[in-house]
Assembly symmetry: C2
Homo-oligomer: 329 residues x 2
């Protein structure tokens, strides 16, 4: 089978492409070729896939989407996006990439299908940013999307388009409403959500990390490993039982910052916990208070999506996948 | 104040423009000018507004939106849309007018605001078509939008854009999720929902009407008179208490076809009821079974929106507003 990964230089996209390249198969079928695209040229993963192309391309530029699907991939992973903070700071860029880019891709598939029958599986990365406070204790699957950022708005629009194009048989789409990814690998960044990962990742590397909110703050998490699992399952599952509601809140772990820290203490030790420095930040506390504390994700669980059920698992996944199993503290 | 009505040749748009022209005021403030636009030239209403312009214009054509807001209207009513059946039959036209046209309007306002401060009130006509079955008994305000038509998808996207542009202060928007309008004036049409109005309007005119579903079918209604009231209230209300959830399910009357017929019997008489011919249609019955039977509309009621509470009122509103108070049967 032929695959296309858009956003393949991103944190999840690169790991997804690496995993498929290593496996050489998807859902038990051999992968003959992969096209990896992003605004910067993605890395070429090692593995068992005979043909891998990498493209540096702006999805929203005229002709980009048509070029990317010219090979008629059987499965398309669409993870390309301007992230939350940048989409809020740059209104036009956010709408251009996150809305127009997504629509261009969907339209390119529709137009290709008019030339010859074509209806690929499309797996779309959405986000819990589609929700906006106030929330019930756990957000049910039929809860309204009232995003409080332009990024969340653009993802919610992508979800609506995905459902309509799927309903019309233009493609066979599944939207994945991802929890906050934790532990997010890489360097600390200025995203308001950064501290959830920083306070685990940095101490595991022997570095200090700042905690700007109280230990009572509750949010909803899944590991990068779980997220890769969501994409692989969405690409290979039977979509018959999904029905017209094509966008699924992914399962995850609802946990407090205190529970994160306890897991770090259990798995890595007190020395790591001592590297967390409390530095309350009212602005971050206010932003985070508008985020979802818990998501029921009942439909996704029934449909076979799986995530961690304890923070110990999340900490261990980071140790194993990013640090070769050993903390540097 | 200066007003713009887009979709002013439509059933609601024309009556809204006529009502404001007759009043000469909106929310107690004198209306100096009205621009009335639609894809066909709207009628010029009589009344007390000194300056009325009418334009035949395709909202999605380049430059149209900027031209329409060149006079910097204080209040914009946006009712222009390709209706449900046509948006389903013509995918490209539906998206072009209902999505791109709406976005062009919102963008024109944003760009005008970069030249000089500008943040008009924008009242957007949405629809209960944004909902998709299965439903709870009465749809709550925080229920997910999972439309089952392209029209519903386009309206749901318009709602998301309206909320984001309002959150950013680009304009002060209110989206009105309209119930099915009944009694819809004019000739019978082929819309699947047509019979809800046909079985009242045609008998009141001494004409036969076809009922394709059982009397147990339940749906959610408001009169054209109530709908005009929604738009006037949305244009003049204090939007402070609305918060970031700018799209409001409008109140209405949940009633069965049997209750419609009983109201016709009480207000007009048995002679009118005898003109309803039962002719079951499986296709229409199936389509209608996917529609909302009831909507709670709690927020809108608290915010001062009002609709009929009995079908007798709906029948009387049609008699008074369209037939000079006297049925022709």
């Amino acid at each position: 089978m032929k695959l296309l990964v858009i956003g393949a230089a991103g944190m999840i996209g690169a790991r997804l492409a690496a995993r498929i390249a290593a496996d050489g198969t998807l859902g038990g079928r051999p992968v003959e070729s992969m096209v990896l695209a992003d605004v910067v040229e993605p890395a070429r993963p090692e593995g068992a896939v005979p043909a891998i192309e990498t493209h540096a391309v702006d999805l929203s530029a005229p002709g980009s989407a048509a070029m990317l699907i010219a090979g008629r991939p059987d499965t398309i992973f669409h993870l390309a996006a301007i992230v939350s903070g940048e989409a809020e700071a740059d209104f036009e860029k956010g709408y251009r990439i996150n809305l127009d880019g997504t629509r261009d891709l969907f339209e390119a598939i529709r137009l290709a299908g008019r030339e010859a029958p074509y209806a690929p599986r499309v797996v779309f990365a959405s986000s819990i940013a589609v929700y906006g406070a106030p929330f019930p204790e756990a957000i049910p699957d039929d809860f309204a999307l009232t995003p409080l950022t332009s990024y969340g708005t653009q993802k919610a629009i992508g979800e609506l388009l995905l459902a309509d194009y799927s309903r019309r048989g233009i493609f066979d789409g599944i939207g994945l409403r991802l929890p906050t990814i934790c532990v997010r690998p890489g360097r600390p960044n200025k995203a308001a959500s950064g501290f959830f990962s920083n306070i685990l990742r940095e101490p595991m590397n022997g570095q200090e990390a700042v905690l700007p909110v109280s230990e009572e703050v509750r949010h909803f998490f899944a590991s990068p490993r779980a997220a890769i699992g969501f994409f692989l399952h969405a690409a290979t599952m039977d979509t018959g039982p999904v029905g017209p509601r094509r966008n699924l809140a992914m399962p995850g772990l609802s946990a407090t910052v205190g529970e994160e820290i306890e897991a770090l203490r259990r798995i890595v030790g007190e020395k790591a916990v001592k590297l967390i420095r409390r530095e309350p930040d009212e602005t971050i506390a206010r932003i985070v208070s508008g985020w979802a504390p818990d998501v029921s994700a009942d439909r996704a669980r029934v449909l076979g999506f799986k995530a961690e059920t304890t923070f110990d698992e999340i900490v261990r996944a980071h140790l194993e996948d990013e640090l070769g199993g050993v903390a540097k503290v």
